[in-house]
Every structure is written in C-alpha cells, then in structure tokens.
C-alpha cells in the first residue's frame, strides 16, 4: 500500500500526484501511442471508436456525474456536432475550423437548453432532454436543404496541408490527441472553483447557494461544456460514419451514452474510459455471441438494445459505482490483504434527512 507524504499544497493540486502515476499512466500512454505498430487495422478502428465515445462520455460525465443532471438527449448534441462539421466541410472550410465551430455551436445549443432545463431535476429533466433529442431528430429529417433529410449527407475527407486526416492511422492519432486534450481540460475544471461548484450543486443545492454559488449559472455552464465535448465527439463520429443520416442519432444512441457513464462509474474520469471501452466493444461482443447461440435466439429483433438495458439495470442494482467502483474494491482487497473488511464499502444510511430544505 502506498502512503504519500504530503509536504506541500502543490502535491494535492498537481495532476500527477506520485511516482506510481508516472509509471502506470506513462506505460498506458506508450501503449496507446504505439498501438498502430502492433494492432491490426480493424482493432485500430475499434479503438478509435472507443476514443470518440470517451470524448462524448467526458461531456456527459460533467453533466451527469459531476453536476447531477441527467440527460437522455445527448445523441442530439452528437448529431449537431456531426452535421455542423459535415455541412461546413462541404462548404469548403478547413477541418480544424469546422471542428471548433461544431463544438462551439453544440455548446451554444446546450446553454440554450439549460434555460428551460434549470427548472427541472431528475426524471423530469430526463424526459425534457429526451423530447429535445426527438425535436433535433425531426429537424434533421425535415430540414432537407441543409441536412439532406432521409437521404443524408456525405462527409468529405478531412484534409489539411496534404495530410489525409481521415486515413485510419492519422484519424486514430487525431482522436487520441483530442481525447487527451479534453481529458486535461476536464481535470483542470475539476480541480478549480468552477468544477467544485458543480459538485456542490450536485450534492446540495441549498447549501451551494448559501456558499455563494450561482445555481443557474453553474448548471448552464455544465450543460454548455457537456454539449461542447459531445459536439466535438460528434464531429469525429461523422468521419467514422462517413455518411450522416438521422437514424444514426436516435434514442438508442442517447441511452448508450448514458449507459456508458453509469456503467463506467458516475463521478470518476476513469469511469468514462472504462464505460467507453465497454460500450465501444460490447456490440462486437454481442456479434460474436450471435454466432455461438442458436439462430432462433440470435435473430430476435431488438436483441442489442435489450442487452444494453439489462446491463444498465444490473449495474444500477448491484454496482451503482460502476466498473470503476468495482475496480477500487478489488484494488483495496489486494492492498489490505489479508485484512480486507467486507463492510468497508457498506453504504451508511443517513436518517437525518427528514427536514431537508427543498
């Protein structure tokens, strides 16, 4: 077990807190940056997909995991990012600019959504965001002069200075770099006042307000940031799809995104990555399973969403802290071996919430 001796406040503030971090994250970075050398093309594409999901997951984690606002409509921001990016590329703008505009526009829409959403929490907010996603889907279908309607819209290749960013290896590095960048931004957010204000709003609005935190501003900010990251992921996602159609951004996509942060572990950035790996690779797993079970079962329509739903429910019941929570327990078991106490993670019930201000 590691005991970190703290002698400076800086040690708490720095992102890298001890030599163990340097070693393990260093190895991880080495692995992901050298992946194109030892991974075949198909798996490289799957990993790229995981990175894109992880960027969207970061956005959703800021909103759901850190601010406590549930969104069932994040597919809409993914769609906005993808369509704005593809539309502007078709207009001939260079791709870093279109990506930035796609992300910013998505953030702007997120902030607009926050205004009515501020009055709602919990299930009502989930329903409202779901409605928003349906509206965006309809707009994509009917505004055919811009979006191409049902026929869809082709996504041009992203090229800059003679380099084709859509080619598998370059696109892998692009996604990886954007994921790392987004990750650092979110980590910075979480160690500074704006991020702490979000967690304060999540845990107790009344007391956050009494600490001088502007609730409406904080929630709007969380929505905007969340939508911005998801929009960025959408822009990358457009290249993976190569052809945009409204049916790529349905309620199922929204549920997958939410599933990702819940299964990964709410309120942790590790959870985003675990969740993205899980969601990114699960369809492959289901496809493999399909080959092994009798055709009568494998051909059931809606098998995939049903499995997604089942997993979400099982996690909510048995491991509300997700894969990351499970990993922490396993790690603690080995750190304290043979003295691990089973009751360490029993949730303490609080009985004194009766007179809570609402």
């Amino acid at each position: 077990m590691r005991f970190v001796r703290k002698t400076k406040y800086q040690q708490d503030i720095n992102l890298i807190q001890h030599s163990g971090h340097v070693l393990w994250y260093g190895l991880l970075l080495l692995a992901v940056f050298s992946a194109p050398l030892w991974l075949d093309r198909f798996l490289l594409g799957e990993f790229t997909y995981v990175f894109i999901y992880a960027i969207a997951g970061l956005g959703l984690m800021v909103l759901v995991g850190y601010t406590g606002l549930v969104s069932l409509g994040h597919a809409a921001f993914l769609a906005i990012g993808a369509y704005v990016h593809a539309y502007l590329l078709n207009q001939g703008l260079p791709f870093p600019v279109t990506m930035l505009i796609a992300s910013l526009f998505s953030a702007f829409v997120g902030a607009m959504i926050a205004i009515p959403a501020l009055r709602m929490t919990g299930i009502y907010l989930a329903v409202a965001t779901l409605a928003f996603a349906v509206i965006v889907e309809q707009v994509l279908v009917h505004w055919s002069s811009v979006t191409g309607g049902f026929r869809g819209m082709a996504v041009p290749r992203a090229e800059l200075g003679g380099v084709d960013f859509s080619s598998p290896v370059v696109f892998y590095f692009l996604s990886l770099t954007l994921l790392l960048g987004s990750m650092i931004l979110v980590m910075n957010l979480l160690r500074s006042p704006a991020g702490r204000a979000m967690t304060a709003v999540r845990d107790s609005e009344t007391s956050a307000e009494s600490m001088g935190i502007h609730i409406a501003r904080t929630k709007t900010l969380a929505f905007a940031l969340s939508a911005g990251f998801t929009g960025l992921a959408g822009a990358l996602f457009a290249h993976r799809l190569t052809y945009l159609a409204p049916d790529a951004f349905t309620i199922i996509t929204s549920i997958q995104l939410l599933l990702m942060v819940v299964v990964g572990g709410l309120g942790s950035l590790h959870g985003v990555i675990y969740g993205a790996i899980f969601i990114g690779l699960l369809p492959q797993g289901i496809a493999i399973l399909r080959d092994t079970v009798p055709p009568a079962i494998a051909q059931i329509p809606g098998l995939e969403p049903a499995i997604f739903g089942l997993i979400l429910i099982l996690f909510l019941i048995y491991e509300p802290l997700g894969i990351y929570g499970r990993w922490r327990k396993v790690r603690l078991f080995f750190e304290e071996f043979p003295l691990y106490r089973k009751a360490t993670h029993k949730r303490q019930k609080s009985f004194l919430r009766t007179e809570r201000l609402q």
Partner: protein, 252 residues
C-alpha cells in the same frame, strides 16, 4: 448602527403564519441566541436572513444594506455564512473539498483560465488552501482532512459545516442548532470554539440552540420565540426566568 436589523419580519406559508412581526437587532461582535419550543419559527428566521425563503412583510438590514430581496447566492458575498440544522454538506466530497467550496466567494479567476489552469488559478488554489488549513487548525479537523463526508460521524460533520462557513470569512455566522447530536464533551468543546470564533476572529454569531447550558455560557443576549411571535429579548438569565418563556415551555 447594528450589524443586523430585522424589522417587523413576517412570513406566511398559505394560511400558516410561521413568523409574525418579529423585530430584533444584533450588534457587531455579540453572540445572539434564538430559543423557543419546536415550531416557534427559529429556523425560519434563519432562512429569511439567508434568503432561502422570501419575506412576506418586513425587512432585513445587514451592515446598512437592505437584503430583503437580494438573490440567495449574493448573501454569502455580503458576509453572511450559515450552517444547517441537519447538516447540508457535500456528501461525496472530502472535508478539504467542502472547505474549498466554502472559499468559492473569494474566487477571482474565470472559467477560461480555470480549464487551462493558468498560473493565476494555481496561485488562487494555494491561497484557498491557506484559508482552509487555518480553519482546519482552528477546529482540530486535521485527521479528517481527506475523508469523504459520508464516512464521518455526525459530530464531526457538524464541525465540518462550521469550518466550511468560516472559510467564507463571514462578518455574521448563523449556526442552526450547532450542538444537536453532539455528546456532552463535544458540546463543551463547541462552546470554547464559539468563543474563539467570536473573540479571536471577531465574527458576530447568531445561533438557534436548545441546549440552555450552551446558550447561557456562550451568548450575550437571547431572544425567545413561540408560535412565530417574539416573547422577549435580554440576558440569558432574564430570558430563562421570564414568565412568558416559562409559560411557552411548561404551560400554565
């Protein structure tokens, strides 16, 4: 000029008159206690001062400024900090992070500089930690610094809540039943800390409290309420022996 003046304060919830025409003043530097049976309107008065409820009639004046209609989040910046009856801490965060949230009103950086963690943000974080560590030292919370609130015993949570309020560096501190759920030793410690807070830090304290020992030890003046109405204001002994107060607690 008094630090806080409540002028004919009333609040009605539908037909229920939770507080009726209560006027009082709190002088700078004193410890002012509010006592009364359950449902007397003590916590409601706190919620009026900290603007969680809207006042129906009357006004509250703090440091010569009318705060009756100030938005809730602006109260902290004016220099009023509070604790809650059943603790309202940020349960999934560590003690240190709770205190850092208490420092939020001292923030001078903006979002952009924060997500890039510019040097100014780092300097500000260090300054926040200085404030938080001073408070941790004052209230002896060192051993709990990195623990998650959800894992702490109730008595410690109460102290963390006071600590968080102190991180705001308030002029006025509202303590809602600080000793409820504390054992006798902890209550004794609390009265010492109250003295430190009041005399060393120069913070004016208003507290709602049921423990009459703590009230008479710590407070300069006491206000008694019953059924939303003011009974009397005076020294702890005078209030304890006032015929109306005795009637409110014991009946005729």
């Amino acid at each position: 000029m008094s630090l806080l003046e409540a002028e004919a304060l009333s609040v009605h919830f539908g037909g229920v008159k939770a507080v009726q025409d209560v006027s009082f003043t709190v002088e700078k530097g004193e410890v002012f206690s509010i006592v009364g049976p359950n449902g007397a309107g003590k916590t409601t008065i706190f919620n009026l001062i900290s603007r969680i409820y809207d006042t129906t009639h009357g006004s509250v004046i703090f440091a010569e400024q009318d705060i009756t209609r100030v938005p809730t989040h602006a109260i902290a910046e004016l220099g009023i900090a509070r604790t809650f009856q059943n603790t309202e801490l940020f349960e999934q965060e560590s003690v240190l992070n709770n205190l850092l949230i208490g420092c939020h009103i001292h923030r001078s950086t903006n979002l952009i500089s924060e997500i890039f963690f510019l040097p100014a943000v780092r300097r500000q974080e260090l300054a926040f930690r200085e404030i938080a560590e001073e408070v941790i030292d004052l209230l002896d919370l060192q051993s709990y610094r990195d623990q998650i609130i959800g894992n702490l015993p109730y008595g410690v949570r109460k102290m963390v809540e006071i600590a968080r309020a102190l991180c705001l560096k308030p002029k006025l501190l509202l303590l809602d039943e600080p000793s409820s759920g504390l054992n006798p030793e902890e209550t004794d410690d609390l009265s010492f800390w109250l003295e430190d807070i009041n005399q060393d830090l120069g913070i004016t304290v208003i507290m709602v409290e049921h423990d009459m020992n703590l009230v008479s030890q710590a407070s300069d003046r006491v206000m008694a309420l019953a059924d939303g109405q003011l009974l009397t204001v005076g020294s702890p002994e005078a209030v304890q022996n006032h015929p109306d107060v005795l009637r409110a607690y014991l009946g005729d």
